[in-house]
Symmetry: C2
Subunit: 320 residues, 2 copies
């Protein structure tokens, strides 16, 4: 180190700029931050916000399809539930947040949008480590809709690998608080890529299947649907599958799903706000049943997208 | 929702600003970002950076005391190890990062500084969910030195509570990758505050003591030191205690530390870059031994701060 110091001492120090010149490109969209509506390039979090430094944050993502929010009320419920569990407060109630989300989408012009609301612990001006002294912050943004599966994958089914990574257990982090703790899922993704798959599932602490990066998983066996019950995010699209099954006379249950049961299923699909209901036709290099998208999956996909025009399940954005 | 939509439709949409006007105050310091040295108010991460949205990031924190970095080499080792395990690359080698950290401190003028280097997954301009398509980012900053314990707490010892939260296990996230997954620790902190304590310890998945928010823990019993072995961050200050013990003829071991053993110890202390070696004199409302800072703790605290002037353990900052 002393040599390094000596070298540095002989050089003049660099100058300090007044303002960051951002060289990065951003998707087209609108954000809400500190009372202002801004282009996505301006949607930034201080590096000192505990939402970044400690991932001390919760969020929710809702989508807009054909100019309509889908099940916004359920996403608002979960978001405000997460804030309360983390003991965060924001200066907006449900209607206030709904209005901000609406404005972000309307100003963006996106008819198909991925819309995120988020609350962070924030920071105190003194950089105190006591989270009670931090001023909590709220942000929201709307960007173009994105899907876990692309058009080809939706048509032929995703190729998934099961990683031995264990989803962060509920004894550590309450999974009903939608959170950004994803290093287990990111590691699972790289494990999947290494094995030639397109996305990953990881395990729960008992060795059963838990969930994947941003999605829940279902299997169909003898006409009955199952999805992991414990240690998973209670996804809104997962819940929507239960609601669609109830309407359509299908039996669905939350229960342990072993790796063996998943591989021996008649059909497998994943669910996410980012893409809806998406078929899986290959796990760890082996086909699920005949390797084609199954009839139950296909029917649920149709019902799911039909609901997006139903005023009982969706609400219109008023574009300028 | 339809009513809400109707109300919103009747109002004009808000205007979109060109640039964020930041109402928040920041500590005095200098950051490095995108090749620029900037005031802390400009040190921001895009909300679309996976380092924020998925806490897909690693970092390290080194401190400067009396104008000297302490054990910078060890922090650089751990930081580059974390980057490699997360499969991230940054456009700087060890010397490059050391120079940036040096410049941040020198430009800040802080003689006692908390200095952080961090790597995030970054993002792709298309907001692709594939982490392989993201451009990894590097940042660094120097702010005034902060401590887990204030002056009074250092003198009389911290009051700690043990939460039943379980530290995120190694099967989920490799603890040797220093990471921002802190919701378990934040929950432990609130549990501790609720019980009148000043900070928290949480458990490992076997029910033994793991660590606290940003620190490791040691106990002393019959002259021998122990610190939890598994599921904890391998802290540099923790390692420094082992090094000081070796120089001073003390026996220290990494091993399981039960809650009962911790409470029955002769002395307890915590270790962190943010504060060094800090005594604990009360756990769950009961005094440790006679409730005073013990002799081994006191001696290690003195040795620890003495090493900050030793050129073998520290390196000088060249201020302008």
């Amino acid at each position: 180190m002393d040599q390094t110091t000596a070298t540095q001492a002989s050089r003049p120090l660099p100058t300090v700029g007044a303002r960051h010149i951002d060289p990065h490109a951003y998707p087209d969209g609108i954000a809400f931050l500190d009372g202002q509506y801004l282009p996505m390039s301006q949607a930034k979090v201080s590096v000192l916000d505990w939402g970044f430094l400690h991932s001390d944050a919760t969020y929710d993502t809702v989508h807009v399809w054909n100019g309509r929010f889908f099940r916004l009320d359920l996403h608002l419920d979960r978001f405000f539930g997460g804030l309360e569990k983390l003991r965060m407060t924001i200066p907006f109630d449900r209607d206030g947040v709904a209005e901000i989300l609406h404005n972000c989408v309307a100003l963006s012009g996106h008819r198909a949008a991925y819309v995120e609301m988020l609350g962070t612990r924030g920071a105190s001006p003194t950089f105190s480590r006591d989270p009670r002294q931090a001023i909590n912050r709220f942000m929201a943004f709307a960007v173009p809709f994105g899907s876990v599966a692309n058009a080809e994958q939706l048509q032929r089914g995703l190729r998934v690998a099961i990683s031995d990574k264990v989803r962060i257990p509920p004894a550590s982090v309450d999974p009903s608080i939608k959170n950004y703790h994803w290093l287990d899922l990111v590691r699972g993704l790289y494990d999947a890529y290494d094995r030639g798959a397109e996305t990953a599932l990881i395990l729960d602490f008992n060795g059963n299947v838990a969930e994947g990066p941003g999605f829940n998983v279902f299997c169909v066996k003898d006409g009955k649907l199952s999805t992991p019950a414990i240690g998973v995010l209670p996804g809104i699209t997962r819940r929507t599958v239960f609601d669609l099954c109830a309407e359509d006379g299908l039996v669905a249950a939350a229960a342990d799903v072993s790796v063996a049961a998943l591989k021996a299923a008649d059909e497998v699909f994943i669910t996410s706000t980012a893409g809806g209901i998406m078929p899986v036709t290959e796990i760890d290099g082996a086909a699920i049943a005949d390797g084609k998208v199954g009839p139950v999956t296909g029917r649920l996909m149709v019902l799911y997208w039909q609901k997006h025009d139903d005023p009982a399940w969706s609400s219109q954005v008023s574009y300028p």
